[in-house]
Symmetry: none
Subunit: 335 residues, 2 copies
């Protein structure tokens, strides 16, 4: 199987006769066996000559560019290339066919509720008080979970998820136990208190993280299954983010508040609503970044992978599902 090459260093990609090498800004060369390369993802400040691009064209290798902030910027598509038209057709097929769409949407919701349950279980075993409340909510959520297979529409699924999520958020006060961060109720655009400001900020980072990883697959972010009621934004990333928000965002919030790394001084009041200050955002993404590169033991692979990698693996699973290779099973955290 051909490989994807990721380049994070700065330097120049060069051709030498029939081979390919990368020369970094200190002049060190790394040979890249061109016949093994499927595509190249460029994150560093990398220069290319036309001669090099012609070579990529001959070898039908796509170059994907990401800007300084890690956002996808564009692709050099050789005249002939594997352009993933087949994946996009399958994605559309699964959207157009109501049964297929419902099946995928249900899997995302199942994954989402299962992850929320894992988060609650984790805190139940550690909480100084409120275990009973957590236990009650867990019962209710497991009950909602058992209804999922019977949902007959996306709306029904969404409402079941909504019930679970409401119960789940209601426990944030039990888990956090900090008067500076009451949950009250979920408020967005704008968030009306600090905890909601954190949830909104964290979720938006989670969406863009998944989006970045989608750009590294053949999937098209525009076609989602659960979140496709309007077409004003990418939606597949919202779907897949459901699986990761509880462990990636919510647990980080609990951690940052409990460790007092974020306090009320990290928030600014605005005419309407409350937002994380610049310093607060810095702390949040700094800590998130640490977690994203943290490795967790992967159940099936039998080895440790980073959270970021976990998201990519999840997307590959969705892709396999769409291509009919293997039914998608959402990731479940073990702890």
């Amino acid at each position: 199987m051909k490989k994807t090459i990721y380049i994070f260093q700065s330097g120049e990609l060069k051709r030498k006769d029939h081979s390919l090498y990368f020369e970094n800004s200190e002049g060190r060369r790394k040979h890249i066996p061109v016949e093994d390369v499927n595509d190249i993802y460029i994150f560093g400040e990398v220069d290319v000559s036309k001669r090099f691009l012609d070579f990529m064209s001959q070898k039908q290798i796509c170059l994907h560019y990401f800007n300084y902030y890690g956002y996808y910027s564009g692709t050099f598509y050789p005249r002939e290339h594997l352009n993933a038209g087949h994946v996009i057709l399958k994605q559309a097929e699964h959207y157009i066919n109501d049964d297929h769409r419902l099946r995928l949407a249900r899997l995302f919701i199942e994954g989402s509720i299962a992850q929320m349950i894992q988060v609650l279980k984790y805190y139940k075993s550690r909480a100084k008080s409120g275990q009973e409340k957590i236990e009650q909510t867990l019962e209710i959520m497991k009950n909602e979970q058992s209804k999922l297979p019977h949902a007959e529409s996306i709306e029904e699924l969404m409402s079941q998820e909504g019930h679970s999520r409401e119960r789940y958020y209601a426990l944030f006060d039990v888990i956090i136990q900090n008067k500076e961060f009451p949950f009250e109720k979920r408020s967005k655009r704008p968030p009306l208190n600090r905890l909601n400001a954190l949830i909104s900020f964290g979720n938006s980072i989670c969406y863009t993280t998944v989006l970045s990883e989608i750009y590294k697959t053949y999937l098209d972010p525009r076609i989602g299954y659960l979140h496709a009621t309007n077409f004003r934004r990418f939606s597949l990333n919202l779907d897949v983010a459901e699986i990761f928000k509880p462990i990636m965002v919510d647990r980080l919030i609990f951690y940052l508040i409990n460790k007092k790394m974020l306090t009320k001084k990290h928030f600014d009041g605005h005419t309407d609503g409350i937002l994380l200050s610049e310093e607060g955002r810095r702390i949040f993404v700094g800590e998130l970044d640490k977690r994203m590169s943290q490795t967790v033991k992967h159940r099936h692979l039998g080895k440790s992978v980073s959270y970021r990698r976990l998201i990519r693996l999840e997307l590959y699973k969705v892709q396999k599902h769409l291509l009919g290779e293997k039914k998608y099973e959402p990731y479940r955290t073990l702890w």
Copy 2:
């Protein structure tokens, strides 16, 4: 109206703050007003940095690369900014549904043959001799045209189009009447004579021109209808180019040869095949550019539009067809 930039020299494309310049290999700089640029065609040995490509992405400018021999090599396609999940779903739907796909493919072929017929009619009225031959071919092509509604597969359509095109090309000798440019037969990769070299070069420019315009719509170039037997290249641009090749490329070729703007000295023989020289390419794209910004009276709009604009309007028509707003009718030139 935004312009196409053609670069034949060797050097480097660079960004400086919010502007763009080309520095040739002797160090001379040429400022390029970025806000006026539609797309850039690179023929020379031009280097680009990632920083420059990020800038192209921000400004939504496509870069088309041609190799040393003038063959199309690939395109830097900035990240899609027009994010239209609903259009791509419709595009996929029209591909997946055999009837829908056949209908669109048929329309492209109808448009293509109708345009070839218009070109022949134009030259019939001006030819010094051979009117009879042209008339015979027109009869045959009209006959092929009448069979199109009965075609039951893409392959059948393709073969009907193939017959018409063969007859059409056979008349190039009658139209051109220049011993330096015999048609002989259609040869590609490599073209085996001068006329074929011109057709190949012109067609590849036409494909990339349509690709640049697709980028400015909600359409996805990966899903075509006529040219979608595999996903190894962009195909929607190939479909739509069928409508424009006869008027944009073939008529330009006749003009350039008849006006003796291109003669045999503008071609280089290579180990296998014959190609336009750099000077020849320069003349070709220079004249094409004039035509692309030339305005023609638009039948329905009742006003004059440029050829480039005409291509965009054609794409909007395809988009409307896909969205079920209005059945697509291919553009027909009046003269």
